[in-house]
Symmetry: C2
Subunit: 303 residues, 2 copies
Protein backbone atom coordinates (compact mmCIF):
# COMPACT_ATOMS: atom_id res chain seq x y z
CA UNK A 1 0.00 0.00 0.00
CA UNK A 2 3.16 2.19 0.12
CA UNK A 3 2.44 5.88 0.40
CA UNK A 4 -0.77 6.00 -1.58
CA UNK A 5 -4.03 6.06 0.34
CA UNK A 6 -5.73 2.71 0.98
CA UNK A 7 -8.86 1.94 -0.99
CA UNK A 8 -11.87 0.01 0.23
CA UNK A 9 -14.29 -1.30 -2.39
CA UNK A 10 -17.87 -2.01 -1.36
CA UNK A 11 -19.56 -4.33 -3.84
CA UNK A 12 -23.27 -3.67 -3.43
CA UNK A 13 -23.97 -0.65 -1.25
CA UNK A 14 -27.12 -1.44 0.74
CA UNK A 15 -27.92 -1.17 4.43
CA UNK A 16 -24.92 -3.14 5.70
CA UNK A 17 -22.17 -2.06 3.31
CA UNK A 18 -23.56 1.49 3.30
CA UNK A 19 -23.45 1.65 7.09
CA UNK A 20 -19.92 0.28 7.02
CA UNK A 21 -18.84 2.94 4.53
CA UNK A 22 -20.38 5.67 6.67
CA UNK A 23 -18.81 4.23 9.81
CA UNK A 24 -15.33 3.93 8.28
CA UNK A 25 -15.39 7.52 7.10
CA UNK A 26 -16.85 8.79 10.37
CA UNK A 27 -14.17 6.96 12.33
CA UNK A 28 -11.37 8.58 10.39
CA UNK A 29 -10.53 6.09 7.66
CA UNK A 30 -8.06 8.07 5.59
CA UNK A 31 -8.45 6.28 2.27
CA UNK A 32 -11.07 6.16 -0.43
CA UNK A 33 -14.31 4.19 -0.26
CA UNK A 34 -15.48 3.11 -3.71
CA UNK A 35 -18.86 1.57 -4.47
CA UNK A 36 -19.36 -1.03 -7.18
CA UNK A 37 -22.81 -1.95 -8.37
CA UNK A 38 -25.19 -2.15 -11.28
CA UNK A 39 -27.62 0.60 -10.36
CA UNK A 40 -26.15 4.07 -10.92
CA UNK A 41 -29.07 5.86 -9.26
CA UNK A 42 -28.72 3.82 -6.11
CA UNK A 43 -24.95 4.30 -6.08
CA UNK A 44 -25.42 8.05 -6.54
CA UNK A 45 -27.65 8.02 -3.44
CA UNK A 46 -24.90 6.13 -1.62
CA UNK A 47 -22.53 9.00 -2.44
CA UNK A 48 -25.12 11.48 -1.14
CA UNK A 49 -25.56 9.42 2.04
CA UNK A 50 -21.84 9.61 2.69
CA UNK A 51 -21.42 5.85 2.34
CA UNK A 52 -18.89 6.05 -0.53
CA UNK A 53 -16.66 8.68 -2.14
CA UNK A 54 -17.32 7.54 -5.69
CA UNK A 55 -18.77 4.64 -7.60
CA UNK A 56 -18.16 2.50 -10.63
CA UNK A 57 -20.34 0.22 -12.69
CA UNK A 58 -17.44 -1.80 -14.07
CA UNK A 59 -15.42 -4.12 -11.82
CA UNK A 60 -12.17 -3.05 -13.47
CA UNK A 61 -12.80 0.57 -12.43
CA UNK A 62 -13.52 -0.27 -8.80
CA UNK A 63 -11.48 -3.27 -7.83
CA UNK A 64 -8.09 -2.77 -9.53
CA UNK A 65 -6.90 -0.31 -6.89
CA UNK A 66 -8.61 -1.94 -3.92
CA UNK A 67 -6.75 -3.06 -0.85
CA UNK A 68 -9.90 -4.41 0.74
CA UNK A 69 -12.97 -5.65 -1.15
CA UNK A 70 -16.18 -6.15 0.83
CA UNK A 71 -19.15 -7.98 -0.67
CA UNK A 72 -22.47 -6.57 0.51
CA UNK A 73 -24.75 -8.27 -2.02
CA UNK A 74 -27.56 -10.81 -1.45
CA UNK A 75 -26.12 -14.30 -1.14
CA UNK A 76 -27.56 -15.30 -4.49
CA UNK A 77 -25.28 -12.80 -6.22
CA UNK A 78 -22.06 -14.01 -4.59
CA UNK A 79 -21.05 -16.36 -7.38
CA UNK A 80 -21.49 -13.74 -10.07
CA UNK A 81 -19.60 -11.10 -8.08
CA UNK A 82 -16.62 -13.36 -7.40
CA UNK A 83 -16.58 -14.23 -11.07
CA UNK A 84 -16.76 -10.59 -12.10
CA UNK A 85 -14.05 -9.23 -9.80
CA UNK A 86 -11.59 -12.13 -9.75
CA UNK A 87 -9.50 -11.09 -12.72
CA UNK A 88 -9.27 -7.48 -11.54
CA UNK A 89 -8.13 -8.12 -7.97
CA UNK A 90 -4.66 -6.81 -7.10
CA UNK A 91 -2.39 -9.54 -5.74
CA UNK A 92 -2.43 -8.08 -2.23
CA UNK A 93 -6.17 -7.36 -1.96
CA UNK A 94 -8.03 -8.85 1.01
CA UNK A 95 -11.60 -9.93 0.30
CA UNK A 96 -14.43 -10.36 2.80
CA UNK A 97 -18.22 -10.45 2.80
CA UNK A 98 -21.16 -9.76 5.11
CA UNK A 99 -23.44 -12.65 4.18
CA UNK A 100 -25.79 -14.16 6.76
CA UNK A 101 -24.86 -17.73 5.81
CA UNK A 102 -21.27 -18.78 5.34
CA UNK A 103 -21.20 -22.32 3.91
CA UNK A 104 -22.63 -21.26 0.58
CA UNK A 105 -20.29 -18.25 0.34
CA UNK A 106 -17.27 -20.42 1.06
CA UNK A 107 -18.36 -22.92 -1.58
CA UNK A 108 -18.66 -20.07 -4.02
CA UNK A 109 -15.25 -18.68 -3.06
CA UNK A 110 -13.60 -22.07 -3.46
CA UNK A 111 -14.93 -22.49 -6.95
CA UNK A 112 -14.47 -18.92 -8.18
CA UNK A 113 -11.65 -17.10 -6.39
CA UNK A 114 -8.71 -19.22 -7.49
CA UNK A 115 -5.45 -18.19 -5.85
CA UNK A 116 -7.20 -15.25 -4.14
CA UNK A 117 -8.97 -17.74 -1.85
CA UNK A 118 -6.17 -17.44 0.71
CA UNK A 119 -6.96 -13.74 1.04
CA UNK A 120 -10.70 -14.28 1.47
CA UNK A 121 -12.11 -13.96 5.02
CA UNK A 122 -15.78 -14.98 5.30
CA UNK A 123 -17.56 -12.59 7.65
CA UNK A 124 -20.96 -11.81 9.12
CA UNK A 125 -21.83 -8.73 11.17
CA UNK A 126 -24.76 -9.63 13.44
CA UNK A 127 -26.44 -6.33 12.85
CA UNK A 128 -29.08 -4.90 10.60
CA UNK A 129 -32.70 -3.81 10.62
CA UNK A 130 -35.79 -4.94 8.75
CA UNK A 131 -35.16 -2.06 6.35
CA UNK A 132 -32.92 -2.30 3.33
CA UNK A 133 -31.11 -0.02 0.94
CA UNK A 134 -28.48 2.59 1.55
CA UNK A 135 -31.12 5.10 2.65
CA UNK A 136 -31.58 2.98 5.78
CA UNK A 137 -27.83 2.97 6.55
CA UNK A 138 -26.49 4.56 9.74
CA UNK A 139 -22.93 4.88 10.90
CA UNK A 140 -23.34 3.39 14.40
CA UNK A 141 -24.95 0.15 13.21
CA UNK A 142 -21.99 -1.95 14.30
CA UNK A 143 -21.20 -0.35 17.64
CA UNK A 144 -21.10 -3.08 20.31
CA UNK A 145 -22.41 -5.62 17.79
CA UNK A 146 -20.76 -8.94 17.22
CA UNK A 147 -19.09 -9.78 13.92
CA UNK A 148 -18.33 -13.41 13.22
CA UNK A 149 -15.38 -14.30 11.00
CA UNK A 150 -15.01 -17.87 9.76
CA UNK A 151 -11.48 -18.04 8.31
CA UNK A 152 -10.67 -21.15 6.30
CA UNK A 153 -7.65 -23.42 6.74
CA UNK A 154 -6.25 -21.72 3.64
CA UNK A 155 -6.85 -18.19 4.88
CA UNK A 156 -3.74 -16.08 5.41
CA UNK A 157 -3.85 -15.02 9.09
CA UNK A 158 -2.78 -11.50 8.04
CA UNK A 159 -5.95 -11.24 5.94
CA UNK A 160 -8.05 -12.25 8.93
CA UNK A 161 -6.30 -9.65 11.11
CA UNK A 162 -6.90 -6.98 8.50
CA UNK A 163 -10.65 -7.70 8.45
CA UNK A 164 -10.79 -7.97 12.23
CA UNK A 165 -9.11 -4.57 12.60
CA UNK A 166 -11.61 -2.99 10.21
CA UNK A 167 -14.61 -4.24 12.19
CA UNK A 168 -13.04 -3.25 15.47
CA UNK A 169 -12.44 0.22 14.04
CA UNK A 170 -16.20 0.68 13.57
CA UNK A 171 -16.97 -0.44 17.12
CA UNK A 172 -17.78 -4.12 16.66
CA UNK A 173 -16.65 -7.08 18.72
CA UNK A 174 -15.09 -9.75 16.52
CA UNK A 175 -15.33 -13.50 17.15
CA UNK A 176 -14.09 -16.36 15.01
CA UNK A 177 -15.66 -19.79 14.59
CA UNK A 178 -16.00 -22.53 12.01
CA UNK A 179 -18.24 -22.11 8.99
CA UNK A 180 -20.46 -25.01 10.07
CA UNK A 181 -20.86 -23.71 13.61
CA UNK A 182 -21.77 -20.25 12.36
CA UNK A 183 -24.43 -21.67 10.10
CA UNK A 184 -25.93 -23.83 12.85
CA UNK A 185 -26.04 -20.97 15.37
CA UNK A 186 -27.52 -18.46 12.96
CA UNK A 187 -30.10 -20.94 11.70
CA UNK A 188 -31.43 -21.09 15.26
CA UNK A 189 -31.22 -17.47 16.35
CA UNK A 190 -32.06 -15.76 13.10
CA UNK A 191 -33.00 -17.80 10.05
CA UNK A 192 -35.64 -19.92 11.78
CA UNK A 193 -37.33 -16.93 13.48
CA UNK A 194 -37.48 -15.15 10.12
CA UNK A 195 -39.09 -18.20 8.51
CA UNK A 196 -41.62 -18.46 11.33
CA UNK A 197 -42.53 -14.79 11.14
CA UNK A 198 -42.81 -14.76 7.34
CA UNK A 199 -44.85 -17.96 7.60
CA UNK A 200 -47.24 -16.56 10.19
CA UNK A 201 -48.03 -13.41 8.24
CA UNK A 202 -48.35 -15.31 4.97
CA UNK A 203 -50.66 -17.80 6.64
CA UNK A 204 -52.77 -14.97 8.06
CA UNK A 205 -52.93 -13.20 4.71
CA UNK A 206 -54.61 -16.27 3.22
CA UNK A 207 -57.48 -15.93 5.67
CA UNK A 208 -60.33 -14.23 3.78
CA UNK A 209 -61.01 -12.09 6.88
CA UNK A 210 -57.39 -11.03 7.32
CA UNK A 211 -58.07 -7.31 7.04
CA UNK A 212 -60.60 -7.42 9.84
CA UNK A 213 -58.47 -9.78 11.90
CA UNK A 214 -55.45 -7.49 11.66
CA UNK A 215 -57.46 -4.67 13.21
CA UNK A 216 -57.22 -6.57 16.47
CA UNK A 217 -53.52 -7.25 16.24
CA UNK A 218 -51.53 -5.13 18.67
CA UNK A 219 -47.97 -4.59 19.80
CA UNK A 220 -47.23 -8.25 20.48
CA UNK A 221 -48.09 -9.18 16.92
CA UNK A 222 -46.23 -6.18 15.55
CA UNK A 223 -42.99 -7.07 17.31
CA UNK A 224 -43.31 -10.79 16.66
CA UNK A 225 -43.69 -10.13 12.95
CA UNK A 226 -41.28 -7.21 12.58
CA UNK A 227 -38.74 -9.41 10.81
CA UNK A 228 -41.42 -10.40 8.28
CA UNK A 229 -40.97 -6.90 6.85
CA UNK A 230 -37.43 -7.84 5.81
CA UNK A 231 -36.28 -8.01 2.21
CA UNK A 232 -37.82 -11.09 0.51
CA UNK A 233 -35.00 -11.65 -1.99
CA UNK A 234 -32.30 -11.41 0.63
CA UNK A 235 -34.16 -13.89 2.83
CA UNK A 236 -34.92 -16.26 -0.02
CA UNK A 237 -31.15 -16.41 -0.59
CA UNK A 238 -30.36 -16.89 3.10
CA UNK A 239 -32.88 -19.73 3.45
CA UNK A 240 -31.47 -21.47 0.41
CA UNK A 241 -27.88 -20.60 1.31
CA UNK A 242 -28.20 -22.15 4.75
CA UNK A 243 -30.65 -24.83 3.69
CA UNK A 244 -29.44 -27.82 5.69
CA UNK A 245 -28.91 -26.06 9.02
CA UNK A 246 -32.24 -24.27 8.60
CA UNK A 247 -34.04 -27.53 7.86
CA UNK A 248 -32.48 -29.09 10.97
CA UNK A 249 -33.61 -26.16 13.12
CA UNK A 250 -37.04 -26.18 11.52
CA UNK A 251 -37.38 -29.90 12.06
CA UNK A 252 -36.49 -29.64 15.76
CA UNK A 253 -38.88 -26.73 16.19
CA UNK A 254 -41.75 -28.49 14.47
CA UNK A 255 -41.29 -31.47 16.77
CA UNK A 256 -41.38 -29.21 19.83
CA UNK A 257 -44.44 -27.47 18.44
CA UNK A 258 -46.14 -30.83 18.12
CA UNK A 259 -45.52 -31.48 21.82
CA UNK A 260 -46.98 -28.08 22.64
CA UNK A 261 -50.02 -28.74 20.44
CA UNK A 262 -50.58 -32.06 22.18
CA UNK A 263 -50.39 -30.36 25.55
CA UNK A 264 -53.04 -27.87 24.52
CA UNK A 265 -55.16 -30.68 23.07
CA UNK A 266 -54.92 -32.69 26.27
CA UNK A 267 -55.37 -29.60 28.45
CA UNK A 268 -52.06 -30.42 30.14
CA UNK A 269 -51.90 -27.35 32.38
CA UNK A 270 -48.77 -28.44 34.19
CA UNK A 271 -46.86 -29.24 31.01
CA UNK A 272 -47.78 -25.94 29.36
CA UNK A 273 -46.88 -23.92 32.41
CA UNK A 274 -43.51 -25.67 32.64
CA UNK A 275 -42.69 -24.83 29.03
CA UNK A 276 -43.84 -21.22 29.36
CA UNK A 277 -41.91 -20.82 32.61
CA UNK A 278 -38.77 -22.24 31.08
CA UNK A 279 -39.10 -20.02 28.01
CA UNK A 280 -39.67 -16.89 30.09
CA UNK A 281 -36.74 -17.73 32.36
CA UNK A 282 -34.39 -18.33 29.41
CA UNK A 283 -35.55 -15.22 27.57
CA UNK A 284 -35.33 -12.95 30.63
CA UNK A 285 -31.79 -14.16 31.33
CA UNK A 286 -30.83 -13.55 27.70
CA UNK A 287 -32.38 -10.11 27.79
CA UNK A 288 -30.46 -9.13 30.88
CA UNK A 289 -27.26 -10.13 29.12
CA UNK A 290 -28.26 -8.54 25.82
CA UNK A 291 -29.32 -5.21 27.30
CA UNK A 292 -26.14 -5.22 29.33
CA UNK A 293 -23.92 -5.56 26.27
CA UNK A 294 -25.74 -3.86 23.42
CA UNK A 295 -26.16 -0.13 23.25
CA UNK A 296 -27.39 0.26 19.69
CA UNK A 297 -30.79 1.24 18.36
CA UNK A 298 -33.87 -0.41 19.78
CA UNK A 299 -34.66 -1.65 16.31
CA UNK A 300 -31.29 -3.20 15.58
CA UNK A 301 -31.69 -6.61 14.17
CA UNK A 302 -29.69 -9.78 13.84
CA UNK A 303 -29.70 -11.50 10.54
CA UNK B 1 -76.73 4.73 42.47
CA UNK B 2 -78.79 7.67 43.80
CA UNK B 3 -76.71 10.44 45.31
CA UNK B 4 -73.95 8.33 46.79
CA UNK B 5 -70.73 8.09 44.83
CA UNK B 6 -70.39 5.21 42.39
CA UNK B 7 -68.07 2.40 43.36
CA UNK B 8 -65.93 0.35 40.99
CA UNK B 9 -64.54 -2.92 42.31
CA UNK B 10 -61.42 -4.34 40.66
CA UNK B 11 -61.08 -8.03 41.41
CA UNK B 12 -57.37 -8.79 40.99
CA UNK B 13 -55.30 -5.63 40.57
CA UNK B 14 -52.51 -6.47 38.13
CA UNK B 15 -51.27 -4.71 35.01
CA UNK B 16 -54.63 -4.40 33.27
CA UNK B 17 -56.98 -3.70 36.17
CA UNK B 18 -54.33 -1.53 37.82
CA UNK B 19 -53.93 0.56 34.68
CA UNK B 20 -57.69 0.85 34.44
CA UNK B 21 -57.94 2.05 38.03
CA UNK B 22 -55.23 4.65 37.43
CA UNK B 23 -56.85 5.73 34.18
CA UNK B 24 -60.33 6.09 35.70
CA UNK B 25 -58.98 8.23 38.53
CA UNK B 26 -56.79 10.27 36.22
CA UNK B 27 -59.72 10.90 33.89
CA UNK B 28 -61.88 12.27 36.70
CA UNK B 29 -63.91 9.30 37.86
CA UNK B 30 -65.63 10.75 40.93
CA UNK B 31 -66.35 7.55 42.81
CA UNK B 32 -64.32 5.06 44.77
CA UNK B 33 -62.11 2.36 43.27
CA UNK B 34 -61.85 -0.67 45.54
CA UNK B 35 -59.47 -3.57 45.04
CA UNK B 36 -60.34 -7.12 45.97
CA UNK B 37 -57.67 -9.81 46.13
CA UNK B 38 -55.90 -12.37 48.25
CA UNK B 39 -52.49 -10.74 48.58
CA UNK B 40 -52.56 -7.79 50.99
CA UNK B 41 -48.99 -6.72 50.15
CA UNK B 42 -49.75 -6.55 46.45
CA UNK B 43 -53.02 -4.66 47.11
CA UNK B 44 -51.17 -2.21 49.33
CA UNK B 45 -48.81 -1.55 46.44
CA UNK B 46 -51.84 -0.99 44.22
CA UNK B 47 -52.97 1.74 46.64
CA UNK B 48 -49.49 3.28 46.50
CA UNK B 49 -49.54 3.13 42.68
CA UNK B 50 -52.78 5.07 42.64
CA UNK B 51 -54.68 2.18 41.08
CA UNK B 52 -57.22 1.86 43.91
CA UNK B 53 -58.41 3.93 46.88
CA UNK B 54 -58.66 1.01 49.26
CA UNK B 55 -58.69 -2.76 49.26
CA UNK B 56 -60.43 -5.69 50.84
CA UNK B 57 -59.56 -9.36 51.18
CA UNK B 58 -63.16 -10.47 51.65
CA UNK B 59 -65.65 -10.32 48.78
CA UNK B 60 -68.39 -9.07 51.08
CA UNK B 61 -66.28 -6.00 51.98
CA UNK B 62 -65.54 -5.07 48.38
CA UNK B 63 -68.47 -6.10 46.25
CA UNK B 64 -71.56 -5.25 48.31
CA UNK B 65 -71.38 -1.54 47.45
CA UNK B 66 -70.14 -1.95 43.92
CA UNK B 67 -71.93 -0.54 40.90
CA UNK B 68 -69.39 -2.01 38.53
CA UNK B 69 -67.29 -5.10 39.18
CA UNK B 70 -64.34 -5.75 36.87
CA UNK B 71 -62.53 -9.07 36.91
CA UNK B 72 -58.80 -8.68 36.24
CA UNK B 73 -57.69 -12.17 37.26
CA UNK B 74 -56.04 -14.94 35.19
CA UNK B 75 -58.71 -16.89 33.31
CA UNK B 76 -58.18 -19.93 35.51
CA UNK B 77 -59.44 -17.98 38.52
CA UNK B 78 -62.69 -16.83 36.87
CA UNK B 79 -64.84 -19.65 38.17
CA UNK B 80 -63.71 -19.18 41.74
CA UNK B 81 -64.17 -15.40 41.59
CA UNK B 82 -67.70 -15.62 40.20
CA UNK B 83 -68.50 -18.14 42.91
CA UNK B 84 -67.01 -15.93 45.63
CA UNK B 85 -68.68 -12.67 44.64
CA UNK B 86 -72.08 -13.90 43.40
CA UNK B 87 -73.91 -13.79 46.71
CA UNK B 88 -72.57 -10.34 47.54
CA UNK B 89 -73.46 -8.58 44.29
CA UNK B 90 -75.99 -5.76 44.59
CA UNK B 91 -79.00 -6.29 42.31
CA UNK B 92 -77.99 -3.41 40.04
CA UNK B 93 -74.27 -4.16 39.76
CA UNK B 94 -72.84 -4.54 36.29
CA UNK B 95 -70.07 -7.13 35.93
CA UNK B 96 -67.38 -7.29 33.27
CA UNK B 97 -63.95 -8.84 32.80
CA UNK B 98 -60.73 -8.29 30.84
CA UNK B 99 -59.91 -11.89 29.92
CA UNK B 100 -58.06 -12.66 26.69
CA UNK B 101 -60.42 -15.52 25.80
CA UNK B 102 -64.16 -15.15 26.04
CA UNK B 103 -65.78 -18.54 25.50
CA UNK B 104 -64.43 -19.99 28.74
CA UNK B 105 -65.41 -16.89 30.72
CA UNK B 106 -68.94 -17.00 29.35
CA UNK B 107 -69.21 -20.69 30.20
CA UNK B 108 -68.08 -19.85 33.69
CA UNK B 109 -70.55 -16.98 33.96
CA UNK B 110 -73.44 -19.13 32.76
CA UNK B 111 -72.78 -21.75 35.37
CA UNK B 112 -71.93 -19.45 38.28
CA UNK B 113 -73.58 -16.05 38.00
CA UNK B 114 -77.22 -17.09 38.21
CA UNK B 115 -79.61 -14.20 37.66
CA UNK B 116 -76.69 -11.75 37.52
CA UNK B 117 -75.78 -13.19 34.12
CA UNK B 118 -77.92 -10.56 32.39
CA UNK B 119 -75.71 -7.85 33.88
CA UNK B 120 -72.47 -9.52 32.82
CA UNK B 121 -70.67 -8.02 29.82
CA UNK B 122 -67.69 -10.09 28.64
CA UNK B 123 -64.85 -7.76 27.64
CA UNK B 124 -61.28 -7.76 26.39
CA UNK B 125 -59.04 -4.70 26.10
CA UNK B 126 -56.46 -5.40 23.37
CA UNK B 127 -53.68 -3.83 25.37
CA UNK B 128 -50.96 -4.91 27.74
CA UNK B 129 -47.25 -5.48 27.84
CA UNK B 130 -45.08 -8.51 28.50
CA UNK B 131 -44.79 -7.29 32.08
CA UNK B 132 -47.26 -8.11 34.81
CA UNK B 133 -48.30 -6.87 38.23
CA UNK B 134 -49.61 -3.50 39.32
CA UNK B 135 -46.09 -2.05 39.35
CA UNK B 136 -46.16 -2.29 35.55
CA UNK B 137 -49.49 -0.43 35.31
CA UNK B 138 -49.72 2.93 33.54
CA UNK B 139 -52.72 5.17 33.09
CA UNK B 140 -52.54 5.63 29.30
CA UNK B 141 -52.45 1.92 28.51
CA UNK B 142 -55.86 2.02 26.83
CA UNK B 143 -55.58 5.26 24.87
CA UNK B 144 -56.45 4.55 21.22
CA UNK B 145 -56.53 0.82 21.93
CA UNK B 146 -59.42 -1.38 20.94
CA UNK B 147 -61.64 -3.03 23.52
CA UNK B 148 -63.84 -5.89 22.37
CA UNK B 149 -67.13 -6.53 24.15
CA UNK B 150 -69.01 -9.76 23.44
CA UNK B 151 -72.46 -9.24 24.99
CA UNK B 152 -74.66 -12.34 25.23
CA UNK B 153 -78.25 -12.66 24.05
CA UNK B 154 -79.22 -12.38 27.71
CA UNK B 155 -77.13 -9.28 28.38
CA UNK B 156 -79.08 -6.16 29.35
CA UNK B 157 -78.13 -3.53 26.72
CA UNK B 158 -77.84 -0.96 29.51
CA UNK B 159 -75.10 -3.04 31.10
CA UNK B 160 -73.25 -3.14 27.79
CA UNK B 161 -73.58 0.64 27.44
CA UNK B 162 -72.28 1.13 30.96
CA UNK B 163 -69.15 -0.90 30.21
CA UNK B 164 -68.69 0.73 26.83
CA UNK B 165 -68.84 4.19 28.42
CA UNK B 166 -66.21 3.21 30.97
CA UNK B 167 -63.73 2.09 28.32
CA UNK B 168 -64.40 5.13 26.19
CA UNK B 169 -63.76 7.29 29.24
CA UNK B 170 -60.20 5.94 29.45
CA UNK B 171 -59.55 6.57 25.77
CA UNK B 172 -60.31 3.18 24.20
CA UNK B 173 -62.26 2.42 21.05
CA UNK B 174 -64.98 -0.14 21.75
CA UNK B 175 -66.16 -2.80 19.30
CA UNK B 176 -68.66 -5.58 19.83
CA UNK B 177 -68.64 -9.04 18.27
CA UNK B 178 -69.69 -12.58 19.06
CA UNK B 179 -67.82 -14.66 21.58
CA UNK B 180 -66.81 -17.22 18.97
CA UNK B 181 -65.55 -14.59 16.53
CA UNK B 182 -63.50 -12.93 19.25
CA UNK B 183 -61.88 -16.21 20.17
CA UNK B 184 -61.06 -17.07 16.57
CA UNK B 185 -59.56 -13.64 15.85
CA UNK B 186 -57.48 -13.51 19.02
CA UNK B 187 -56.24 -17.07 18.54
CA UNK B 188 -54.70 -15.91 15.27
CA UNK B 189 -53.34 -12.49 16.20
CA UNK B 190 -52.25 -13.15 19.75
CA UNK B 191 -52.54 -16.63 21.22
CA UNK B 192 -50.78 -18.43 18.37
CA UNK B 193 -47.85 -15.94 18.23
CA UNK B 194 -47.41 -16.32 21.99
CA UNK B 195 -47.32 -20.11 21.65
CA UNK B 196 -44.79 -19.90 18.83
CA UNK B 197 -42.54 -17.53 20.75
CA UNK B 198 -42.71 -19.53 23.98
CA UNK B 199 -42.08 -22.66 21.90
CA UNK B 200 -39.05 -21.23 20.13
CA UNK B 201 -37.32 -20.11 23.31
CA UNK B 202 -38.13 -23.34 25.10
CA UNK B 203 -36.82 -25.31 22.15
CA UNK B 204 -33.63 -23.26 22.14
CA UNK B 205 -33.14 -23.66 25.88
CA UNK B 206 -32.99 -27.43 25.42
CA UNK B 207 -29.96 -27.07 23.17
CA UNK B 208 -26.90 -27.83 25.32
CA UNK B 209 -25.10 -24.88 23.69
CA UNK B 210 -27.92 -22.43 24.23
CA UNK B 211 -25.87 -19.97 26.28
CA UNK B 212 -23.29 -19.65 23.54
CA UNK B 213 -25.93 -19.58 20.82
CA UNK B 214 -27.82 -16.75 22.53
CA UNK B 215 -24.70 -14.60 22.40
CA UNK B 216 -25.29 -14.32 18.68
CA UNK B 217 -28.96 -13.50 18.94
CA UNK B 218 -29.67 -9.86 18.17
CA UNK B 219 -32.58 -7.48 17.87
CA UNK B 220 -34.63 -9.65 15.52
CA UNK B 221 -34.61 -12.50 17.99
CA UNK B 222 -35.27 -10.16 20.90
CA UNK B 223 -38.39 -8.67 19.30
CA UNK B 224 -39.63 -11.98 17.94
CA UNK B 225 -39.46 -13.49 21.42
CA UNK B 226 -40.55 -10.48 23.48
CA UNK B 227 -43.93 -12.06 24.17
CA UNK B 228 -42.15 -15.16 25.52
CA UNK B 229 -41.35 -13.02 28.57
CA UNK B 230 -45.07 -12.88 29.38
CA UNK B 231 -46.59 -14.37 32.50
CA UNK B 232 -46.58 -18.20 32.23
CA UNK B 233 -49.66 -18.80 34.40
CA UNK B 234 -51.72 -16.22 32.59
CA UNK B 235 -50.76 -17.75 29.25
CA UNK B 236 -51.32 -21.29 30.39
CA UNK B 237 -54.87 -20.22 31.23
CA UNK B 238 -55.37 -18.41 27.92
CA UNK B 239 -54.15 -21.40 25.89
CA UNK B 240 -56.46 -23.72 27.78
CA UNK B 241 -59.31 -21.19 27.86
CA UNK B 242 -59.23 -20.77 24.09
CA UNK B 243 -58.19 -24.32 23.37
CA UNK B 244 -60.23 -25.14 20.30
CA UNK B 245 -59.65 -21.91 18.38
CA UNK B 246 -55.96 -22.04 19.28
CA UNK B 247 -55.68 -25.63 18.06
CA UNK B 248 -57.36 -24.66 14.79
CA UNK B 249 -54.94 -21.76 14.30
CA UNK B 250 -51.99 -23.92 15.28
CA UNK B 251 -53.08 -26.64 12.90
CA UNK B 252 -53.37 -24.24 9.97
CA UNK B 253 -50.00 -22.72 10.81
CA UNK B 254 -48.26 -26.07 11.04
CA UNK B 255 -49.59 -27.01 7.63
CA UNK B 256 -48.29 -23.76 6.15
CA UNK B 257 -44.96 -24.33 7.87
CA UNK B 258 -44.78 -27.74 6.25
CA UNK B 259 -45.19 -26.12 2.85
CA UNK B 260 -42.42 -23.68 3.70
CA UNK B 261 -40.15 -26.49 4.91
CA UNK B 262 -40.76 -28.38 1.68
CA UNK B 263 -39.89 -25.30 -0.33
CA UNK B 264 -36.58 -24.97 1.51
CA UNK B 265 -35.94 -28.68 1.08
CA UNK B 266 -36.58 -28.51 -2.64
CA UNK B 267 -34.70 -25.21 -2.99
CA UNK B 268 -37.85 -23.69 -4.48
CA UNK B 269 -36.54 -20.13 -4.81
CA UNK B 270 -39.62 -18.83 -6.57
CA UNK B 271 -42.05 -20.30 -4.03
CA UNK B 272 -40.08 -18.96 -1.06
CA UNK B 273 -39.77 -15.52 -2.57
CA UNK B 274 -43.52 -15.42 -3.26
CA UNK B 275 -44.34 -16.27 0.36
CA UNK B 276 -41.82 -13.79 1.76
CA UNK B 277 -43.07 -11.07 -0.60
CA UNK B 278 -46.65 -11.70 0.35
CA UNK B 279 -45.83 -11.67 4.06
CA UNK B 280 -43.85 -8.44 3.78
CA UNK B 281 -46.60 -6.79 1.77
CA UNK B 282 -49.31 -7.81 4.26
CA UNK B 283 -47.23 -6.80 7.26
CA UNK B 284 -46.19 -3.44 5.82
CA UNK B 285 -49.82 -2.61 5.00
CA UNK B 286 -50.86 -3.61 8.52
CA UNK B 287 -48.08 -1.52 10.01
CA UNK B 288 -49.11 1.55 8.09
CA UNK B 289 -52.61 1.15 9.44
CA UNK B 290 -51.44 0.31 12.96
CA UNK B 291 -48.99 3.20 13.25
CA UNK B 292 -51.67 5.47 11.89
CA UNK B 293 -54.16 4.55 14.60
CA UNK B 294 -52.16 3.69 17.68
CA UNK B 295 -50.36 6.31 19.69
CA UNK B 296 -49.44 4.33 22.79
CA UNK B 297 -46.12 3.07 24.01
CA UNK B 298 -43.81 1.28 21.63
CA UNK B 299 -43.95 -1.73 23.91
CA UNK B 300 -47.74 -1.97 24.10
CA UNK B 301 -48.88 -5.47 23.54
CA UNK B 302 -51.98 -7.27 22.43
CA UNK B 303 -53.00 -10.30 24.37
Amino acid sequence: MDDRKPTVCLVGVGLIAGSLGQALRRRGFAGEVVGLGRNAASLARAVQCGAIHRYALEPSDAVSDADLVILGVPLGATDAVFEAIRDHLPAHAVITDVGSAKGCVVESARSRLGEALCRFVPGHPIAGTEHSGVEAAFDHLFVDRRVILTPLPETDPRATERVRAMWQAVGAEVRTMSVAHHDRVLAITSHLPHMLAFGLVDSLSRNPDHEEILQYAAGGFRDFTRIASSDPVMWRDICLGNRQALLDALHAYREDLEVLARQVEQADAEGLEAIFHNAKHTRDAYLEWFEGTATGERTDDGE
